[in-house]
Amino acid sequence: MAEHIITFDKVNKWYGNNFHVLRDIDLAVKPGERIVICGPSGSGKSTLIRCINRLEEHQEGHIIVDGVELTDDIKAIEKVRREVGMVFQQFNLFPHLTVLENLTLSPMWVGKTPKKDAVERAMQQLTRVKIAEQANKYPLQLSGGQQQRVAIARALCLTPKIMLFDEPTSALDPEMIKEVLDVMVELANQGITMLCVTHEMGFAKAVADRVIFMDEGQIVEQNTPHEFFDNPKSDRTKDFLSKILGH
């Protein structure tokens, strides 16, 4: 059992030939650690977490997730994806399936769970995100906040060891952000490994073990939330924090 559940070792990634989106990323995440990643737009933070379940490929360096190195080996990728749940900015629920079908799809087809068990587990997860009564509706019949909670429940249905959140509240109306953050806080308190790209600094202060600041494809600074917010070291971090906390 490795000490770290996710390891980035000198990871480099380019989009096309000249856009260097990740530069020499070194990162080690302990099981159960809760990490918030922030930084200006285009800094590579979404790309970083999308490399963890290989929605993006890296060109140099090594990424090891739960003891499996990510390469072109499709079997290894599928194995990693089974351990990693992901929540997207745009929810990405399947509009042609009901909420319940969205949740049971992966357990039934990937996990080979019998339908009865998959439904039972799905209802548990829906209850956990407080939306069980909407199980038979279609995603587009729900509000944005409800859809994002369904998306979280869907990611949890494979009982992942790691949860990735890619700006989960950025597409939501302000009054719906809280209901999603509440679910995320509750999840964080249950010991799952979490990496969350977000600008919700209140959330970072409340649950993060570590805050990572990225800029221009590099990890500029990382620290406990307390130190990060009260005592930022680099000028770029200070500049960023003054912009997002300045009003």
Partner: protein, 367 residues
């Protein structure tokens, strides 16, 4: 002192908004422009319809007598030609005494198609039904088994041939088109190139050339007497031709699926084929139902081109029936109007069915 009852003045009844007259008022004479258009169309109909009705109904001849028809020529339609040549038009050159066989076979096939179109019957036994009915169709048509006299495929003709070519053309082309459309978007260069070459090659030639090649050129490359049956070659030609066009329609749907849908499926651990089958195709195909049905209707009508390789489907059978008989040859228009009606019934049904499917698939999108 109690209040004195005072009745209010009677009011006029509200203007009727339902029923025939109000409908006409609001839809045909709603404003000046629509009134003008309505009057124009009425005038046009008044100009055309009396002559048409006189020709098609009042002065029409329904007896199967070529001389009576000849006498009425120019003033009345000769529907007698349809009665006289009915079996030749419908069954082509199929042996006269055995024509009950294509009749039964076609009724079976059409019944199978109708059943397959009804949602309540989308159960596993439907596949069994297909496995039973399709061989039955070919046994009835071709004979040579169970004491049925063998009828070679060059004698098959008329409506049964049209329906058979369209049905199997569609049923075979549809899955091929999906695979080709997926292939054209594949990450594997070899597969992608192959699919592009196939689609562009087929789209670059008319169906007639494909049929010519299938019928006349293909046997030249085969050992003498070893070439597959002409009907089979033509069916393969129609299938490959239609599949290329359908593939582009399907690709249009595939491209409309947001990338996030595929990423979500991948993040849930679904494999490529699971993602396509459960997430991408159900949404993509639902989006392009009108385009797909367009292609299906085109396939149905394009079957009339097989006449040029001497397979007498409905259109070909009509020419055959009338060209060979000098007495009835002048009344081709009536014959063509008759098969027009047949084509229309099939194509219009397909069109309406497509609307129903769209309605069914649209449900999950609406609130």
């Amino acid at each position: 002192m109690s209040a004195v009852f005072q009745s209010i003045k009677p009011r006029p009844a509200p203007v009727k908004t339902e029923g025939f007259v109000p409908w006409i008022r609001s839809n045909l004479f709603g404003d000046l422009r629509s009134s003008a258009v309505t009057l124009l169309i009425i005038a046009l109909a008044a100009y055309v319809l009396p002559d048409l009705v006189r020709w098609a109904v009042l002065n029409a001849v329904v007896v199967t007598n070529a001389e009576t028809c000849q006498a009425a020529r120019g003033t009345g339609a000769c529907w007698g030609v349809v009665v006289e040549k009915f079996r030749l038009i419908i069954f082509g050159r199929y042996p006269y005494e055995a024509q009950w066989r294509p009749q039964v076979a076609t009724i079976l096939l059409v019944a199978l198609l109708v059943v397959s179109c009804i949602r309540a019957f989308w159960k596993p036994w439907l596949a069994v039904l297909w496995v039973a009915v399709v061989p039955a169709f070919f046994v009835l048509m071709g004979g040579g088994l169970f004491g049925l006299e063998a009828v070679t495929t060059d004698q098959w003709g008329g409506l049964p041939l049209t329906i058979m070519l369209a049905t199997f053309g569609i049923v075979l082309a549809y899955p091929i088109s999906i695979v080709v459309a997926l292939g054209r978007r594949s990450d594997l260069p070899a597969i992608r190139s192959l699919c592009i070459v196939y689609i562009e090659l087929i789209r670059g030639v008319p169906l007639i050339s494909v049929l010519f090649m299938a019928s006349f050129l293909f046997p030249l490359f085969m050992p003498v007497g070893k070439s597959p049956d002409v009907l089979l070659r033509v069916l393969v030609g129609i299938t490959l031709f239609s599949a290329a066009y359908l593939a582009e329609v399907v690709r249009g749907g595939l491209q409309a699926i947001p990338k996030g849908q595929i990423e979500a499926a991948q993040s849930l651990g679904l494999t490529y084929w699971q993602t396509q089958r459960k997430i991408v195709l159900p949404q993509a195909l639902a989006m392009v139902v009108p385009g797909i049905m367009n292609s299906f209707i085109a396939i149905f009508k394009d079957t009339s081109l097989v006449t040029i390789v001497s397979l007498y489907e409905l259109t070909g059978a009509l020419s055959l029936a009338l060209n060979s008989d000098a007495d009835w040859r002048p009344f081709k228009i009536e014959g063509y109007l008759f098969i027009t009606l047949i084509y229309f019934v099939f194509c219009f049904s397909m069109s309406r069915y497509s609307l129903w499917i769209e309605h069914q698939l649209g449900r999950s999108k609406t609130r």
